[in-house]
Symmetry: C2
């Protein structure tokens, strides 16, 4: 007897190997079984390259001549349309696969059940929804971005118990422990891009890479530039193999010419940036997920405009008394449990606490 959930779980683990290299495509892993034995596996490795199903089928055929009657497990519905590669559904039918086990449907309107229909029409048995929630979770940013035409947004900050992200004199770098920073770098690795305001670039001069994470694919960088000029000697520009998007309200586009830096001019109304326009543009650039790391002004803008899906708060075991608040450019006049956040997860890291909230619905 084969354990369908166990094999689907292995597909998800395979899929996760694509983190950092496949977006804006989804993370997909595929396993092929025959006679209760695993005979091949593969995952989508790089945007524009072969899909998971193709890699798994090729892997299986190294070991076995015919895949007639074999079972194919995949965490996402196989594609039925021609994109950068031919439809996987056609290949599955061609190879004579007998049963297809699917984690979740692809909500992309070009697929959305059409892949399943085509398989069924060809006489292939299809079971879908195996570990459905897990399979939705691993591609949540892909599904969200394609539905809303803007990236999935996570706000992240580290603070003292009493809610300060920095001392007023800024002598408070690295509030949290090294282990908590490792966790923060892993959260970065799950995002296509990290966003900061130009003031944070100036005061913190952060590298914003994933050096403490196991995943070495550094996300792209987005800088929202107000009036303060960008220092192109800042450390984050030295990181290779990533793009930097600068959205500037200033018309003079500096005269920087660098391959991986894109400077875009945006209008501001009363000094305020319209985040929705920027997010739509970033989606077109292929950014499905953004981690907003501050500072306080930038976090406030996203919070005010309700442009976020999750919040990660890292709480260091310190009391500051006074300092810079996490959302200082925002305030409410009365409390209303209607817009409470949803507590999603929480855990400790040494004496630090990490809390993950999701936005109220």
């Amino acid at each position: 007897m084969i354990d369908h959930e166990k094999i689907m779980y292995d597909c998800i683990k395979l899929a996760a190997k694509g983190i950092g290299t496949v977006s804006p495509n989804p993370l997909v892993g595929c396993i092929i079984v025959k006679g209760n034995k695993k005979i091949g596996q593969g995952y989508h490795q790089k945007f524009g390259e072969a899909h998971a199903e193709v890699n798994a089928i090729n892997d299986a055929k190294k070991r076995i001549k015919s895949l007639k009657g074999a079972g194919l497990f995949v965490n996402l519905e196989p594609c039925s349309h021609t994109g950068k590669t031919p439809p996987c559904v056609d290949l599955i039918i061609e190879e004579g696969i007998g049963v297809v086990y699917i984690g979740t449907k692809d909500t992309n309107p070009l697929v959305n059940g059409k892949g399943i229909q085509k398989l069924k029409k060809a006489g292939i048995k299809v079971f879908s929804g195996i570990l459905g929630d897990h399979c939705k979770e691993i591609n949540k940013t892909f599904f969200f971005a394609n539905k809303h035409k803007r990236p999935y947004i996570t706000l992240k900050f580290a603070q003292s118990i009493d809610g300060f992200i920095a001392l007023n004199n800024f002598k408070s770098k690295w509030l949290t422990s090294i282990n908590t920073r490792k966790i923060a770098h892993n959260i970065r690795a799950f995002n296509d891009a990290i966003l900061i305001g130009s003031n944070t670039l100036k005061t913190d001069n952060p590298i914003l890479d994933c050096r403490l994470s196991n995943n070495k694919n550094n996300p792209d960088i987005i800088i929202l530039s107000g009036k303060s000029p960008i220092n192109y000697k800042a450390r984050l520009f030295s990181v290779q193999n990533r793009s930097v998007y600068i959205y500037s309200i200033k018309t003079n586009k500096d005269n920087l010419v660098r391959e991986n830096v894109k400077i875009k001019f945006i209008k501001s109304v009363n000094g305020m940036i319209n985040l929705r326009i920027i997010l739509r543009d970033l989606y077109k650039e292929g950014i499905n997920s953004i981690l907003v790391e501050g500072g306080s002004y930038t976090l406030s803008q996203f919070f005010k405009q309700e442009l976020f899906e999750e919040i990660y708060v890292m709480i260091a075991p310190k009391i500051f008394g006074k300092g810079i608040s996490s959302f200082s450019d925002f305030h409410i006049n009365s409390i209303n449990s209607m817009n409470d956040l949803i507590l999603h997860d929480f855990f400790s890291s040494g004496n630090d606490i990490i809390i993950n909230y999701k936005k109220y619905r």
Copy 2:
């Protein structure tokens, strides 16, 4: 075979029945066994009345004539001195108990191992340290207060994620959920007294009772009174069966005469109250543990003077942006992990998070 840990655990549960009524005495439960069977039990019920051992022995003798050779379990070393009641050790010897199982030694210099010695001299077998950590924990405030001659202090506050205990307009009563407030009332019940500043009395007019807790013994009240006059019609004065201690820097002691209210004059230096003097006085009044519930100024004074052993933070799933910080009369100039708090416990209550810290050593 008897399970020593199980029986000691039952002693602790019995002891806990005395919460709210035995302080400044310790919480003590006692179980007597004979031939692997429990034959009696008792606990210390009220300050000044019979000790747990006496109650357990009397209970056992209802069922069995002679306790010769019986085993006696007790979470705290039996007393060997004459206080409000005669020494328990003498009674144990008299009754011919064969074995005594003790949770932890009594650090009171009048006992501190002397009870154990006396039992051993009388030929009784003594085993101590059974569930020692649990037995120390349940009487931590008793041990602490007697060692340091001041009450064990817990700071407690509820705040938004970004560290505000109230909105600037104070339209923010009951930040946390009803379930979290129940937990807060249970924490109250573990303390001999609740302390607030006179400003909180004025702005919040709190009742400060345990109405949501299973334990209906309301702690005493301590009010630190600055310049604002005390409103004797405030709601907390209406609660029966508890004392209210008011420490005032004003010389005119009002002309209130009420049985359960004690007004004490204290000197202030530059408007600052010397908390150590007050705490020493409260210890003499029989207060072993205090829950400091605010407001921000009062919490800051205790934090600044390092007069606290634990902190409970209740975090509601809200972002305020601006408001009143939990420790606004305090600040640091640089971070130093040397004085980090120790994360002791954390748990969720609906969408709220409750974090318990202990002071760095």
